[in-house]
Subunit: 188 residues, 2 copies
């Protein structure tokens, strides 16, 4: 790999980041990226398999930054803390419908070989939350892994309903709190 490659790639990412900051993720056009970066269309696609691959990087970095915060904090001891701690991440992932769609599409890699940034962050997310449940503060009848897995299902559901006109009565946090209480503290 040549130095030139890294420079071009870095420029493409820098330009894309700037454009996202200006107009959001959904408004990003590859044409605009290559124009500002001063390269040809084809160059973009020799650096990124497709537009999703670039989005994977950009959004993945955003998720990772939020996970850094989660990793710093002490394990949440109540459902309320659990929700409050994750709220910034949820808001990041639902800032635009387009962002949420990309995340859903890329959070599970179709092939082991093509695990991208977002899929990696989801693995990290799971590891992190498994750790929270290993303390045994929540359910003891099922494994920490299953508790974490289930939480992810409810987080996804809460985010999806956020974009649903029929469910605008409740906030994402309120909905998630109800879900997690039922999931993590059954019978109480």
């Amino acid at each position: 790999m040549q130095k030139r490659t890294l420079e071009t790639r870095a420029r493409l990412i820098a330009v894309a980041t700037a454009l996202v900051a200006e107009n959001g993720y959904g408004a990003l056009r590859t044409d605009e990226v290559v124009k500002r970066a001063g390269v040809a269309k084809g160059t973009f696609f020799s650096h990124f398999k497709d537009k999703d691959a670039l989005m994977d990087l950009l959004i993945g970095a955003g998720i990772d930054a939020h996970l850094d915060q989660l990793a710093k904090a002490p394990p949440p001891e109540t459902v309320e803390e659990l929700v409050a701690l994750q709220a910034p991440l949820l808001h990041f992932m639902t800032q635009e419908r387009y962002v949420f769609d990309v995340i859903l599409r890329l959070s599970g890699a179709a092939a082991v070989a093509e695990i991208g940034a977002i899929a990696t962050t989801f693995g990290r997310y799971l590891d992190l939350t498994v750790h929270w449940f290993e303390s045994g503060k929540y359910r003891s009848d099922i494994s920490a892994e299953l508790q974490a897995d289930g939480m992810q299902a409810f987080v996804t559901q809460a985010m999806a309903l956020h974009f649903c006109a029929l469910h605008e009565d409740q906030s994402m946090e309120a909905r998630l709190t109800v879900y997690l209480r039922a999931w993590l503290c059954p019978g109480s």
Copy 2:
């Protein structure tokens, strides 16, 4: 609305249905639909807002047919029955990655005014399953609505992981069974 309108619309849907039968949902091209139907490109888009709107109809009809089966069956009394009963629907929704993506995108309407076929079926699905839980065979500490809502979250999670290379060890049914046991029969 003229008779001609209904005929054209019916022909477009018939052609699309046939093309899907031949090559699957993801391979459908609007150009091919209009060519076979003998109409112009613009005609297609005066009948359907976009390609998704046609897919909404076709896939929504498929889901509805499966729900008809669910509605006929007696309420499942165990988690195993619950999973077995829903299995055909899950396989329909995951027959193609493209189909699953469309369903995720359209299962929640962005505005009340634009509730489509798939969003409607999801409402029906929820009503149907709420009914199952109203018998009180599962959890009594939370409402039937919440039980149904949670099941939908786990069903979605199980389907999503079906497309994930890292989770190919388990079948969708097996994964869902584990989830639902933990969700519907905690502590046992």
